[in-house]
C-alpha cells in the first residue's frame, strides 16, 4: 500500500510513455495477428465453395473435425510432437550439461556449433537430408560399400525419417534453454548432495533435474508446439500414408475444390489443443511458484 502512494505521478508518466513506445508493436500485432485470427475464426463457421466461401453460417466444418476421419492426423501429429520432444530432451540434456560445465572458451565454441545450423536455410537443410537418406543416397551408399547391407534401406519417406529430421531441426531449441538454466546451476550443490550421502544418480534426480525444470519447460514448449504443427518436414521427407495435421490443413486450401472452413476449423482445433496444453503447463509452473511463497 505504502509503495503505491509513493510513486504516483512519475509512475503514471512512465506507464504512459512505455505504453506509447509499445504502440507500434501493438498495432502490428493487431493488424497481422489478431485480425487474421478473427478472419480464421469467422471462416471456420462458413460454408465452403469451390474456390472461396459462401457467407452462410455452418457448423459442418467442426462436425467433420470430430467425425470425418481427422482424428488420425491429430493422433499422428501428437505422436510425432511427443517423440520429437522426448528425443530432443534426452539427447539435448547431456549436451547442454556438458556445455554448461565446459571451460569458458570451449563453451563459446560449442554454443556457436549449436547455432551454426541456423545460418543455412531450413529447406536446404531438409533437402540435404533427402540426399543423405535417399534410396541411392549417401547413407545407403556408405553402408553398401562397407558391406553392412546388401540392398539399400528404405529410410526416406518413412516415419522414421520424419522423426530423424524433426529432432535434427528442433534439437537446438531444446539445448539452448536447458543450457541457460544449467549454466546458472551451482555445481557445488552436487558436491553437497554427494557429501550428504547421495550417489551421482540420486544427486542428479534430486538436485540437477528439479533445478533445471524451468529449462525443461521452456525447451519442451519451444519444440512441442512447432512440432505439433509440422508441415514442411513431413511433406519433404515423409510419405502420403501418414498425413499430419499441418499437411491436411494445407491440402484443404491447396487442392480444388478448396475447403477454407475445414482448414480454419482444423487450425483452430489445433490452436485450442496447444492453448490447453500451455494453460496446463502454466498452471503447473504457477503451483510450483505458489508452493514456494507459502511461508
Amino acid at each position: 500500500m505504502r509503495a503505491k502512494s509513493r510513486h504516483s505521478t512519475s509512475e503514471k508518466r512512465n506507464n504512459f510513455s512505455s505504453w506509447l513506445l509499445s504502440l507500434p508493436a501493438m498495432l502490428w500485432l493487431l493488424c497481422f495477428f489478431l485480425i487474421p485470427y478473427l478472419i480464421v475464426i469467422i471462416y471456420s463457421f462458413l460454408t465452403p465453395d469451390i474456390y472461396d466461401v459462401k457467407f452462410e453460417f455452418s457448423l459442418d466444418a467442426y462436425r467433420q473435425v470430430f467425425t470425418g476421419g481427422y482424428l488420425r492426423p491429430f493422433f499422428l501429429s501428437f505422436k510425432l510432437a511427443i517423440y520429437t520432444t522426448l528425443c530432443c530432451l534426452l539427447l539435448g540434456f547431456p549436451v547442454a550439461y556438458y556445455i554448461a560445465r565446459a571451460k569458458e572458451k570451449l563453451k563459446n565454441t560449442l554454443l556457436i556449433f549449436i547455432i551454426i545450423p541456423f545460418w543455412t536455410n531450413l529447406i536446404i537443410r531438409i533437402f540435404s537430408w533427402r540426399i543423405f537418406l535417399a534410396y541411392g543416397g549417401v547413407l545407403n551408399g556408405f553402408l553398401m560399400n562397407m558391406g553392412l547391407i546388401s540392398q539399400p534401406l528404405e529410410i526416406l519417406r518413412t516415419d522414421l525419417a520424419v522423426i530423424l529430421v524433426m529432432v535434427y531441426v528442433y534439437l537446438p531449441y531444446m539445448i539452448l534453454p536447458l543450457y541457460s538454466v544449467l549454466e546458472k546451476l551451482d555445481f557445488t550443490l552436487l558436491n553437497a548432495a554427494m557429501d550428504l550421502g547421495a550417489n551421482e544418480v540420486k544427486a542428479f534426480f534430486r538436485i540437477t533435474l528439479p533445478l533445471a525444470v524451468e529449462g525443461i519447460f521452456a525447451g519442451t514448449l519451444l519444440v512441442f508446439i512447432p512440432a505439433l504443427g509440422a508441415y514442411l518436414i513431413p511433406q519433404l521427407v515423409g510419405n502420403q500414408r501418414s498425413l499430419y495435421v499441418g499437411q491436411v490443413i494445407t491440402y484443404k486450401i491447396k487442392n480444388i475444390p478448396r475447403n477454407w472452413p475445414m482448414a480454419s476449423a482444423l487450425s483452430l482445433t489445433l490452436l485450442l489443443l496447444v492453448a490447453l496444453m500451455l494453460l496446463f503447463m502454466f498452471f503447473l509452473y504457477k503451483r510450483r511458484l505458489a508452493r514456494r511463497r507459502i511461508s
Binding site: 550443490l189 558436491n191 550428504l196 534430486r206 533445478l211 511461508s295
Partner: protein, 392 residues
C-alpha cells in the same frame, strides 16, 4: 584415539603440487584448523578428506579404515561449504532432512531428528522457509544442521565464516565452539583468518606451498614459531638477524647490525643451541616491546635499544609505533593505559627506548627460509632485508 590420519598425502594438478607429502594425525573430538594463505593447499586437503579429490599419493584413514578411494557419499564425514550450498528448491526442513531421506530413514524419525537438529542451531521456528528467504548467518546454521543430522564422525568446515560480516563472524565463532562442545565430534576447520583459527582451535596446522609448516596449539605457534613463515603469517612480528656471540645455558648473546654501521647487543632464548659465529633470525612480537622516552632501570634479563619514532598509527585498541634503529624499523604496539599519569604522549621524531624481556626474543630455526614466496617476502620491508642479510 585418532580420527583422521594422513600419511604422506600429496596432490598434483598437472605440474602444480597443491599438497606436498603431508603427514598428520587429528585426534578424536578435536577442533583442528588448517591455516594458511590462499593457494597453500588447505582446501585441497579438506576436499581430499571429504572425498571430492583423490590424493596423487598417500593414504587417508578415518579411524582404522582406509578411506583414500571411497566416494564422498560413502564417508562418515560431512562438509560445511564456503557458500553453504543450501539446496535452493527445498525448504529448510527438506534441506536438513536430505541426508536422512537418502538413507531411507522412516518419516516419523526424520521429523523428530530434523526438529531436534534445527533447535540445536536455533532455527526450529523457520523450517518452512526457503534458503533465499533467510540471512547469511541463518544459512550458516542450516548448513551446520544439514551436516550434523547425519551424525558424521568428522565435520569439515571450509572457510565457513568468510561470507559473513565481522560482528556476525565473531558471534558465529562462539556458536561454532558451543556446537562443537555439544556434539563432541571432530571438527576440521579451514581458514585463512589467523584470528579465527587461533581463537577456535584446540590445535592448528600452519600451511604454506602445500606443506605443513608448523603444527600445535595456538599459543605455542604464536609464542614459539618454528619458522619464519609461521611467525610472519600469524600475528605481526619484527624480524631481526644477528650473529651469535655466546651461548649460555638458557639464553644466548648476539650482536646485531643496524645497517647504519652500528651494532647492538641482544639476548635471546632458543630451542636448539646455534654455533657461535653463525647468523640467525629472531622474531619479536610488537606487543612484547615497551616503549618509553625514559631509559628503563637496568635489569639483567632486559634487552634495550635506542631509536627514533618514525610513524604513529592510532588503531583504537592500541597505537602502533614505527621506530627506527639505524636502518632497521621496529613495529611496537602500545595499549592506551593511563597508569602512568605523568606520561606525556609520544610524538613524531622523538628519541625513545625500546625494551623487552630476553625470553620474548625468539630464535627461529634456520632451515625455514625457502618456504616463503617472493610476494610474501615483499610484504614486509624489514622482513625481506633481514632475509637478504641472512643470505650473505
Amino acid at each position: 584415539m585418532e580420527d583422521i590420519v594422513l600419511k604422506n598425502v600429496s596432490k598434483d594438478f598437472g605440474a602444480f603440487t597443491a599438497v606436498d607429502e603431508v603427514n598428520l594425525t587429528i585426534k578424536s573430538g578435536e577442533l583442528f584448523s588448517f591455516l594458511g594463505p590462499s593457494g597453500c593447499g588447505k582446501t585441497t586437503l579438506l576436499r581430499m578428506i571429504a572425498g571430492f579429490e583423490t590424493p596423487t599419493q598417500g593414504t587417508i584413514q578415518l579411524g582404522n579404515e582406509d578411506i583414500t578411494n571411497l566416494p564422498p557419499y560413502k564417508r562418515e564425514v560431512n562438509t560445511i561449504f564456503q557458500n553453504y550450498s543450501l539446496f535452493p528448491h527445498m525448504t529448510l526442513f527438506d534441506n536438513v532432512a536430505f541426508g536422512l531421506r537418502i538413507k531411507k530413514t522412516p518419516k516419523a524419525e526424520i521429523k523428530d531428528r530434523v526438529q531436534e537438529t534445527l533447535s540445536l542451531v536455533k532455527m526450529d521456528d523457520q523450517a518452512n522457509k526457503y534458503p533465499d528467504q533467510i540471512s547469511g548467518g541463518q544459512k550458516q546454521r542450516i548448513a551446520i544442521a544439514r551436516a550434523l543430522i547425519n551424525k558424521p564422525r568428522v565435520l569439515l568446515l571450509d572457510e565457513p565464516l568468510a561470507a559473513l560480516d565481522l560482528k556476525l563472524r565473531q558471534h558465529m565463532l562462539i556458536e561454532l565452539m558451543n556446537i562443537h562442545d555439544a556434539v563432541g565430534i571432530t571438527f576440521i576447520y579451514v581458514t585463512h583468518d589467523q584470528g579465527e583459527a587461533m581463537s577456535i582451535s584446540d590445535r592448528l596446522a600452519v600451511m604454506n606451498l602445500g606443506k605443513i609448516v608448523q603444527e600445535g596449539p595456538p599459543d605455542d605457534i604464536y609464542e614459539r614459531p618454528s619458522s619464519i613463515f609461521s611467525a610472519y603469517f600469524i600475528g605481526e612480528t619484527n624480524f631481526i638477524s644477528g650473529e651469535v656471540k655466546a651461548v649460555h645455558e638458557d639464553y644466548l648473546e648476539m650482536s646485531c647490525d643496524d645497517g647504519a654501521g652500528h651494532s647492538f647487543e641482544l639476548d635471546s632464548c632458543f630451542q636448539a643451541a646455534p654455533e657461535i659465529g653463525s647468523r640467525v633470525t629472531f622474531s619479536l612480537r610488537p606487543e612484547k616491546i615497551a616503549i618509553s622516552r625514559n631509559k628503563p632501570r637496568h635489569q639483567e634479563d632486559i634487552n634495550m635499544i635506542k631509536g627514533q619514532i618514525e610513524d604513529i598509527l592510532y588503531l583504537g585498541s592500541h597505537t602502533q609505533y614505527i621506530v627506527r634503529v639505524g636502518k632497521l624499523k621496529f613495529r611496537v604496539f602500545s595499549q592506551h593505559k593511563r597508569v602512568y599519569f605523568d606520561d606525556k604522549a609520544l610524538d613524531w621524531e622523538e628519541k625513545v627506548w625500546l625494551f623487552w624481556h630476553d625470553s620474548d626474543t625468539w630464535m627461529i630455526e634456520s632451515d625455514a627460509l625457502e618456504m616463503l614466496t617472493e610476494a610474501q617476502m615483499a610484504e614486509s620491508g624489514q622482513f625481506s632485508r633481514a632475509l637478504k642479510r641472512r643470505g650473505t
